[in-house]
């Protein structure tokens, strides 16, 4: 990556009895959404707090759009939006007053208009004049997201952003994240619920016990993990399909009713050939699916599952 918006190099954070983040190096470029994945206690939140400057780093460097945290913290603050894993709001302020507070703090131009935009973007326009204490947890979560979006930061850190959202809210969050990706933002998003991240993350970093287990694009990681589980289904069973599969010497081949599953760690061209053979032999294939290129599978294969 030529010029990453977020560059973390050899970051280390020490707690009294544990190294919370150890030698972490990763980059997030413009238009990238990077999923920071790991079980509880892996160091995801500490990493985000360290990037934002809320947590003291033992060593290492954090750069946001070229601005170093240690030497240019003020410039870094202007370029960075951080949404914590809980929703700190002023209960006695209205949603618009809450946003006004931060718009003033960030010296946002055209404050009123920008506040309206952010409220609209997070579907809170109806709640403009509602007190924060009257908002549900999910609404508060969206309000804090609106606050994070206010100054239009280049880099966004979202710590478990969907944890309080209902299914509809999660879908809408997904849309916002895709919009941010389109807008060229660099987004680092943490979660231990992998289905949340699937679909819009183009890179992923898997952490375990403070260490980075693996990092790369989803495709790279899929390949890196090698073995993927395949699932195939056909319409009529005449035994032919299973025979072809058995002849291919596949690992862990299992017969499922009108279908089969198997593990595969070879060249994908071989898989294509196998599918071609099945079709040419007259097997009516209804499903041909690899489960190894989603985040859940990558995570499970990364070896970071012990703590789950």
């Amino acid at each position: 990556m030529s010029n990453p918006l977020l560059a973390i190099e050899r970051l280390r954070v020490d707690f009294p009895d544990v190294v919370a983040v150890n030698d972490l190096t990763l980059t997030v470029g413009a238009g990238e959404v990077c999923g920071l994945i790991g079980p509880n206690g892996a160091g995801k939140t500490t990493t985000m707090r360290a990037i934002s400057g809320l947590q003291e780093c033992t060593r290492g460097s954090v750069k946001v759009n070229g601005h170093e945290l240690a030497s240019e913290p003020d410039e870094l603050k202007r370029q960075l939006g951080f949404m914590p894993d809980f929703c700190p709001t002023y209960d006695q302020l209205t949603a618009s007053e809450f946003l006004d507070h931060f718009a003033r703090a960030y010296d946002v131009p055209n404050r009123t208009k920008r506040i309206e935009e952010c409220l609209e973007l997070t579907w809170l326009t109806e709640k403009t004049n509602a007190l924060c204490e009257e908002l549900s947890r999910g609404m508060k979560q969206r309000l804090v997201l609106a606050k994070t979006l206010l100054p239009d930061p280049k880099v966004m850190l979202l710590d478990e952003p969907a944890s309080g959202l209902d299914p509809l809210g999660r879908i809408e969050l997904r849309k916002i994240l895709l919009q941010l990706r389109e807008a060229g933002k660099a987004v680092l998003i943490s979660s231990h619920i992998l289905t949340e991240l699937s679909g819009f993350c183009n890179t992923a970093a898997i952490m375990e016990r403070g260490r980075l287990v693996t990092f790369g694009t989803i495709a790279e990681l899929g390949q890196k993990m090698g073995r993927r589980q395949m699932s195939v289904k056909w319409r009529a069973d005449d035994g032919k399909a299973l025979e072809i599969l058995k002849a291919a010497n596949l690992k862990n081949l299992a017969d499922t009713n009108l279908g089969a599953t198997f593990d595969f760690d070879g060249d994908t061209n071989v898989l294509d050939e196998l599918l071609k053979t099945l079709v040419l032999q007259g097997v009516r294939i209804s499903e041909w699916r690899g489960t190894g290129d989603d985040l859940e599978q990558i995570f499970l294969q990364s070896g970071a599952k012990e703590l789950m």
């Binding site: 280390r12 020490d14 707690f15 009294p16 934002s52 400057g53 809320l54 003291e56 033992t58 060593r59 003020d74 603050k77 202007r78 960075l80 951080f82 914590p84 809980f86 700190p88 709001t89 002023y90 006695q92 302020l93 007053e97 006004d100 507070h101 931060f102 003033r104 703090a105 960030y106 010296d107 606050k147």
Partner: protein, 500 residues
């Protein structure tokens, strides 16, 4: 950025107004109006009131009550409000959210400092206005109103800064109130010697009482006799209002810097070492300057204590205050072991060179040196005959600060979160228990073993006491410090060994 554009201030103002200010304003108005109506009733028919001999006396009484309520509201109420608001916002995560904005630390501090206690400011303004009417109706000099209001508001600002720092430091919002109660508790002994104790100027009790004393008809305020005239610092008379404001500004300057520094980076100590030494040194110089006129450098031979107090109790009280002040500043500067370990990890230095610059032990030695130089002012012209007293006092101070700083760091290393409890336990055993046992067994010999005793006894009864005996106790205490030093060193080494 102007105060009224400061988002923290604006938000605090919104929160205060949303919480309601009318009821608070009405309460202040009713209290003030009640006092005012009392004065009006007296003025309308003085014969019905036997307690006052003149309108001025009545005016002083009613104005005294008015500012009493004002102090309660503004100083105590404002302090607790600021520390509580900050404590709650820290807990809620709003403090961190604000710290992540491009607002400067000084803007954050100002916003909370002046914004959080707005309700108390409104109430105080109403009381101050009613107070002015009382002063005018009571035919009291306007300087009484002006001087007392300046002092009350400067004290409120001073305590407000203290509230900011307490709110940023204490884990629980109630911590601030405990701090305030402790502060006021330690103020009481100084009422016995008003003109000579620094605390009467830091909290402007002397300044306000002095204004009342010098405002026209003294009436029956005989209890204020000791509060008349100007205090002197090394023989130079200083107006009490000026001294109070100067002291509050000086200490407030360091509180401000500490609050701003903690806002910018909560992981660093609130005071630099030079700031600690300057604060400690200047406060000791002022305190010793205030009592200089009694012995004029010839302690204990040429006592000139005046008529209103027992001069012998003065220097032991100052010694006790010095120990207390050292305790507070060392607690502020004493490092958290974890931060030293992280620094060692960064620098790669893992021997004692990594510890000493960070530890408060070195600072304890410096503070003792500063105190020794300042205390010399009381002994300057009688050193030949009283050097043993001086030696006992300085030895005692050295023992105390060394043991305290070693104990604090040792307990932090050994007991971590439970450290404060163990420090308190050991200080109780070393300082208080000997007095209790001395009382139980009716013998002064055990009481003398207290870590507090040698200096206090040497200064309190310098002619009758055997100084060699006290010196022996001081040496014994130093032995405790040496044992602690060995344990302290071992614990630090264990911690640094983990710095990998």
């Amino acid at each position: 950025m102007k105060l009224f554009d400061n988002p923290i201030f604006i938000t605090q103002k919104r929160l205060v107004h949303r919480g309601g200010v009318l009821a608070a304003a009405l309460i202040a108005g009713l209290v003030g109006a009640s006092l005012l109506s009392g004065l009006i009733a007296y003025l309308a028919d003085p014969m019905n009131f036997n307690s006052f001999r003149s309108s001025q006396e009545a005016g002083k009484m009613f104005y005294g009550w008015t500012i009493g309520v004002e102090i309660l509201v503004l100083v105590i109420g404002g302090f607790s409000r600021i520390s509580r608001v900050l404590g709650e916002e820290r807990k809620a995560g709003l403090w961190d959210s604000n710290r992540l904005t491009p607002l400067k630390p000084c803007q954050l501090v100002t916003g909370y400092w002046l914004g959080a206690p707005l309700r108390e400011f409104y109430m105080a303004a109403i009381l101050a206005a009613i107070g002015l009417v009382i002063v005018l109706l009571g035919r009291l000099p306007i300087t009484l109103w002006l001087g007392s209001q300046v002092l009350i508001f400067s004290t409120a600002l001073f305590f407000g800064l203290l509230g900011v720092l307490v709110g940023m430091t204490f884990q629980r919002p109630q911590g601030g109130v405990i701090f305030l109660v402790a502060f006021i508790f330690f103020q009481f002994p100084s009422f016995a010697m008003p003109k000579y104790m620094l605390t009467n100027f830091l909290l402007p009790t002397y300044g306000i009482a002095n204004l009342f004393r010098d405002s026209g008809d003294s009436g029956n305020d005989y209890s204020l006799q000791e509060w008349r005239g100007m205090p002197e610092i090394f023989g130079v008379p200083i107006p009490p209002i000026l001294l109070s404001i100067a002291l509050q500004a000086f200490v407030g300057f360091f509180l401000w810097r500490a609050a701003v520094r903690k806002t910018a980076n909560p992981f660093q100590p609130p005071l630099f070492r030079w700031e600690t030494v300057a604060l400690f040194g200047v406060l000791l110089i002022v305190q010793n300057g205030l009592i200089w006129g009694i012995w004029r450098g010839q302690f204990p031979t040429a006592a000139n204590g005046g008529n209103f107090f027992d001069g012998q109790s003065l220097l032991p009280t100052v010694h006790g205050g010095t120990l207390l002040l050292a305790t507070v500043v060392l607690a502020f500067v004493s490092p958290q072991p974890e931060s030293v370990r992280v620094k060692a990890l960064r620098s790669g230095i893992k021997d004692f060179a990594a510890i000493f610059p960070e530890s408060s032990v070195l600072l304890a030695l410096v503070l003792t040196g500063v105190a020794a130089m300042v205390l010399l002012s009381q002994f300057a012209f009688s050193f030949g005959s009283s050097w043993e007293i001086y030696l006992v006092v300085i030895g005692n101070l050295l023992d105390f600060v060394l043991i305290y700083s070693l104990l604090l760091e040792f307990c932090r290393l050994r007991f971590r979160r439970r450290a404060l409890g163990f420090v308190a336990l050991w200080l109780f055993i070393l300082c208080i228990l000997p007095f209790i046992l001395g009382g139980v067994f009716s013998t002064g010999a055990i009481a003398k073993l207290s870590l507090l005793a040698p200096g206090v006894i040497a200064l309190g009864d310098p002619t009758n006491e055997n100084m060699n005996n006290l010196l022996g106790i001081v040496v014994g205490h130093f032995g405790i410090a040496v044992v602690l030093f060995i344990g302290w060193q071992r614990k630090w080494k264990e911690l640094l060994a983990r710095a990998v």
